[in-house]
């Protein structure tokens, strides 16, 4: 199974399934890095509404995706973090520093629109100070 990637103007959107496999995530990283160039994407939205668990590997890969796509010129926003998953991540000691988040897909797209309107294509520090 590969994670489908949707295209909306210059934004790529991927929704992670409940029990996402390591290999699917690694594939998604490669695929997004490539597709960002193909469509000259300026934004990537990763929807994790359905995921059951974010453990250290999942988080590592999400951070890698944000880092790689940023180097390719596209900002990544993670949306739909379930409250229980957020709670467990913090207890586990995992942080998503430097990666933008929004409540849902709508919020993620709005955030990306704001950024491209203001010409802000900078990195993590600005994302934190937002």
């Amino acid at each position: 199974m590969t994670i489908p990637i949707l295209k909306l103007d210059h934004t790529l959107i991927a929704s992670l399934q409940s029990a996402v496999m390591d290999q699917e995530l690694t594939q998604l990283l490669d695929e997004l890095a490539r597709r960002v160039g193909d469509i000259e994407a300026t934004g990537v939205v990763l929807d994790i509404t359905a995921v059951d668990v974010v453990d250290s590997f999942t988080l590592r890969t999400l951070i890698d995706i944000a880092g790689v796509t940023r180097l390719r010129g596209a900002e990544t926003v993670i949306v739909g973090m379930p409250p229980d998953v957020a709670f467990s991540m913090i207890k586990l000691g995992l942080r998503l520093d430097g990666v933008a988040t929004a409540l849902d897909l709508e919020g993620g797209l709005a955030l990306l629109a704001d950024r491209s309107a203001s010409g802000d294509r900078s990195g993590s520090e600005d994302a934190d100070a937002r």
């Binding site: 029990a19 496999m21 390591d22 290999q23 059951d52 668990v53 974010v54 453990d55 250290s56 590997f57 988080l59 590592r60 379930p82 409250p83 229980d84 998953v85 709670f87 467990s88 991540m89 207890k91 586990l92 000691g93 995992l94």
Partner: protein
């Protein structure tokens, strides 16, 4: 109602199976809400550790009772290389593999009880419990 389950951990698919069954057993044992995700996350980290360092092992998940409280006991057992210095792997940020080095200390923070027994060349057994 099944109160105990044994799961062979040998691939990344087994990691997902273990945390899913852990969540189901915990729900049967009376856990709810964020506790279910907390337990599933801790199980995921331990199972991941087995696959990464020992290649294979097994996990036992069991609903236990103490007085009027119920708990979920998780035993992760492998016959891998073992851990040389347990206090070192329990430090945040220590990792010998491709991870964030938060697996074991993180799992400990998620659960109520946590114990490691390890012998070099023999393997590692981690026992952890969450009380409802």
């Amino acid at each position: 109602m099944h109160d105990e389950e044994r799961i062979v951990i040998a691939s990344e698919n087994d990691i997902v199976t273990a945390r899913r069954r852990g969540r189901e057993l915990a729900a049967e044992g009376g856990f709810s809400g964020s506790d279910l995700t907390v337990i599933a996350t801790a199980i995921s980290e331990l199972a991941r550790n087995i696959v990464a360092y020992a290649r294979a092992g097994e996990m036992t998940l069991r609903v236990i009772r103490r007085g009027d409280r119920s708990g979920l006991l998780v035993i992760a057992r492998d016959e891998g290389p073992g851990i040389d210095d347990v206090s070192l792997v329990m430090q945040d940020g220590f990792s010998t593999g491709r991870s964030l080095g938060l697996g074991l200390p993180g799992a400990k923070r998620l659960m109520d009880e946590f114990e490691i027994a390890s012998e070099l060349g023999r393997g590692t057994t981690i026992t952890m419990t969450k009380w409802s």
